[in-house]
């Protein structure tokens, strides 16, 4: 373990984390930033070694360059636990890999900024575990990070405005996008909620891109099944009623399906530390923060999607607000008042994010797409029938369904199936309990053992 604690450790190298780290580092704080990726960027600003042009990317890359040299930037580091030491400092437990294998890295910090982003929220349906079925974010990551097309003939389905950049990105890169099926809305692109939210330019650009590549955009439609032997070969597209019950179906041949039904904020480092949570409009548990992005736990801030999904602009704004507040706490003499412009922007983008969540809810009809043998949990291969059995045996919530039928007990710890299992159990998703947030070899974990006697270690 390094000697003196950092003034600030930031977890997550997307727009929120980089903005927060840079703000603090520029004010002279000793800062470390950890990210699991090989390059900074997070999901939105994921980029290849030689980046393509993207809105906002230049600005992000400039911030990342400025951060380099002013802070310890530790890429390829996965944080698996943050805990409070008896003395009040925080211990950040991470893993990294080098030529000799996996190796634990432990940092001490006076303050922590959680900027861990979000991941796609998938819904189960028959065939969703066939190779060639990816999350929308997965298809996007392949393209942005590796320059790889997820497939040649691609169908995109789910809900939310994120489907649009995924579709236009794939079409631009040369894939035949056979259709974008948006389960919500009935309005079509011309009256897309993005327009009402003052993002006419962005919406128009997507609409133009889809039109240029002749990509059909259908609302109140969704892919409700994927078919194929070893890989996806076709999908069933359904016309839906407003509750997402199936009205009619047809088969569309394709080699790839990208699906996404919103996002799951990654908040487990916060819940490890006991941070309070609240429900976002879409039901997702997110970290509760005050006007300065402070969580309920002293010394712990959060910015970006973990405080509520609202996109990369909001993430950067929140990162900057958190950074300023952290500087103010660390250097009371240099304390500056809140920046009115930042606060106004944050309010705007928060309203935008919440409006999108309300415009693109997950409706209960998806449960009727499942068959008894449809896997709900991909890791432990738990079919719907076993989840139902658990409910009949006396499981009254998602946790007891997990205890009885094992969905969420596998590798991903319920990140993929957790939302669906909560819906099936009839409750809103609860804050995650993941004391070991990333797999850690027992050898690496053993190295975190204190060298004194166990009785002393407990003090």
């Amino acid at each position: 373990m390094t000697g003196a604690p950092y003034d600030l450790v930031v977890v997550g190298g997307g727009p929120a984390g980089v903005a927060g780290a840079l703000t603090a580092a520029l004010a002279g704080l000793r800062v470390a930033l950890l990210d699991s990726g090989a390059r900074l960027g997070g999901q939105y600003f994921r980029h290849a070694a030689v980046p393509e042009r993207e809105p906002g990317l230049d600005r992000f890359l400039l911030q990342a360059r400025l951060l380099d040299g002013r802070a310890d930037v530790l890429t390829r580091h996965q944080v698996w636990n943050v805990s409070r030491e008896p003395g009040g400092d925080l211990t950040v437990h991470a893993l990294t890999r080098d030529s000799s294998g996996e190796r634990p890295v432990t940092l001490r910090a006076r303050r922590l900024l959680i900027a861990t982003g979000a991941h796609d929220r998938p819904l189960p349906f028959p065939g969703w575990d066939l190779p060639g079925v990816l999350t929308a974010g997965g298809a996007q990551a392949l393209l942005k990070g590796g320059g790889v097309l997820a497939g040649r003939r691609v169908v995109i389905s789910g809900t939310g405005p994120f489907l649009l950049p995924v579709a236009s990105g794939l079409a631009r890169a040369g894939a035949a996008v056979l259709g974008v099926y948006e389960a919500n809305g009935g309005l079509g692109l011309a009256r897309h909620p993005l327009l009402a939210l003052g993002k006419a330019g962005e919406a128009a650009a997507y609409a133009a891109a889809l039109a240029r590549h002749r990509v059909p955009y259908r609302t109140r439609h969704a892919v409700i099944a994927a078919h194929g032997e070893r890989e996806v070969e076709a999908v069933t597209v359904a016309r839906l009623d407003p509750d997402w019950n199936v009205l009619s179906t047809r088969i569309v041949g394709c080699d790839t399906l990208a699906v996404g039904y919103g996002f799951v904020p990654q908040i487990e480092l916060g819940t490890q530390l006991g941070c309070e949570t609240r429900g976002d409009p879409d039901g997702s548990p997110v970290l509760r923060v005050d006007a300065a992005q402070r969580t309920s736990v002293p010394g712990v801030w959060a910015a970006g999607e973990p405080t509520g999904v609202a996109g990369w602009r909001q993430a950067e704004v929140e990162g900057r607000i958190a950074g300023r507040a952290i500087v103010g706490e660390a250097r009371p003499i240099a304390r500056r008042g809140p920046d009115g412009v930042l606060l106004r922007r944050r309010r705007q983008w928060r309203a935008f994010g919440e409006a999108l969540q309300r415009a693109y809810p997950v409706r209960p009809g998806w449960q009727s797409w499942l068959r008894d043998d449809t896997l709900v949990c991909r890791c432990e291969e738990v079919p719907l029938a076993r989840v139902r059995e658990a409910l009949e045996l006396g499981a009254t919530d998602a946790r007891s369904v997990k205890l009885l039928a094992r969905p969420g007990m596998g590798w991903c710890q319920g990140r993929v199936c957790g939302y669906a299992v909560s819906c099936l159990a009839g409750e809103a998703p609860r804050p995650p309990r993941r004391p070991v947030a990333q797999p850690v070899t027992l050898g690496a974990l053993a190295e975190a053992a204190p060298e004194d006697s166990p009785d002393e270690a407990a003090q």
Partner: protein, 380 residues
């Protein structure tokens, strides 16, 4: 109106309800949460006879061991008669293990240092020996509790078994000194007898009835590894320190290596004990120590990844014995709680003996060592 109200739908409550219904009684089980939502849901599923000193708890464990085997024949949950291997690091510990095994009167085989790898090929080198207990077993405790509740009354019972979940007991109803039911968050539930099977929270239920039961939480963490393609560990394997830790009165942290594979392919790693109240905060030093001890026992685990961990609260009584029987201080109140870390293993015997009491029969075992008022006598 039921004959019996069981408070707690964990494995002990489920067993009490199952055997009572089987004896012809009408049973209502109430729990503030789901089935197996408390300590049962945080357990490894130990059905052990190897870790107990000779005496009443061992007798209970032996009775229970046979009952689990009978229950498992009806299916509905995993029961693995895998056997337990207690290993000794030194000759002195091996001598003490030998002595204990001699006194227990439980089926066992002495294992020399050279023979250890016939039992567990991946054990570390240099261990002095061990004792193998073929009767040690493991059940999937949540499913076991759920199947006892579900199938028990349906298939074999003459009485009825009703399950009311999400119902919090807020009071114990009495008339003329006798218990007549419980007050709950969803109205009164009436019954001739109330069984307190609230596990770690058994002291709170007792307090609602106006009696004291000194049950405290003793926290334990378990590490779970990634699922392995090939089983690495065949038996439940633990070091001799486990036996002394189980019996210890220390409030501080105590750990010992307890390692076993599961049908899902994962390896479960315990065991830690500390008295810190109901604090769920994960202690990385404790997890690290569990990992360290497991790797020392099975070096091949070094490269295996832990993918999650969880903690639970064992219901702990000062004398490490459970509380089983009628409470002479409150007629109609029965207790079946305080089993510490052995609740899964001891559940069927507890349920069976309590059902005998409820049905007016003479219990198969002497219940005096488990009597609920023993603590106040000691104090007096």
């Amino acid at each position: 109106m039921s004959d019996v109200i069981v408070v707690g739908a964990g494995v002990v409550g489920a067993a009490c309800a199952y055997y009572a219904a089987r004896a012809g009684l009408d049973v209502t089980v109430v729990d503030r949460g789901p089935v197996a939502g408390g300590t049962t849901g945080s357990g490894e599923g130990n059905v052990l006879v190897s870790d107990k000193e000779p005496g009443p708890e061992l007798e209970l464990a032996m009775l229970s061991n046979g009952l689990w085997r009978a229950l498992a024949e009806h299916g509905g949950f995993e029961f693995e008669p895998k056997g337990g291997l207690v290993v000794a690091e030194t000759d002195e510990i091996q001598r003490r293990l030998t002595e204990l095994a001699g006194k227990q009167g439980v089926e066992h085989a002495m294992v020399s240092g050279a023979e250890l790898r016939d039992y567990e090929p991946h054990l570390a080198e240099g261990l002095a020996g061990g004792v193998y207990y073929p009767q040690d077993a493991q059940v999937q405790p949540m499913l076991a509790a759920a199947s006892l509740l579900r199938h028990g009354a349906e298939s074999f019972g003459r009485g009825t078994l009703r399950l009311r979940l999400g119902v919090t007991v807020t009071g114990v109803l009495r008339s003329g000194g006798r218990v007549t039911g419980v007050r709950t968050s969803q109205g009164d539930v009436l019954g001739d007898a109330v069984v307190n099977a609230a596990g770690t929270w058994g002291g709170e239920i007792a307090a609602l009835a106006g009696v004291e039961l000194p049950i405290l939480p003793r926290r334990g963490f378990i590490l779970v590894t990634e699922p392995l393609r090939e089983p690495l560990i065949r038996h439940k394997v633990y070091t001799a320190a486990y036996v002394t830790n189980v019996a210890s009165d220390s409030a501080g942290l105590e750990t010992s290596a307890v390692v076993e594979g599961t049908p899902a392919g994962t390896v479960l790693i315990g065991a830690s004990r500390e008295r810190v109240g109901f604090d769920r905060t994960t202690s990385v030093p404790v997890l690290a120590r569990l990992a360290e001890q497991a790797v020392a026992l099975f070096p091949a685990l070094r490269e295996v990844r832990a993918i999650r961990s969880y903690c639970g609260f064992r219901p702990y009584c000062p004398d490490h014995l459970p509380v089983i029987g009628a409470d002479p201080r409150v007629p109609g109140l029965y207790h079946a709680c305080g089993h510490e870390g052995a609740g899964i293993g001891l559940a069927p015997a507890t349920g069976h003996l309590l059902a005998q009491l409820l049905a007016g029969e003479r219990p198969d075992l002497d219940l005096r060592p488990f009597r609920p008022d023993r603590f106040s006598e000691e104090a007096a």
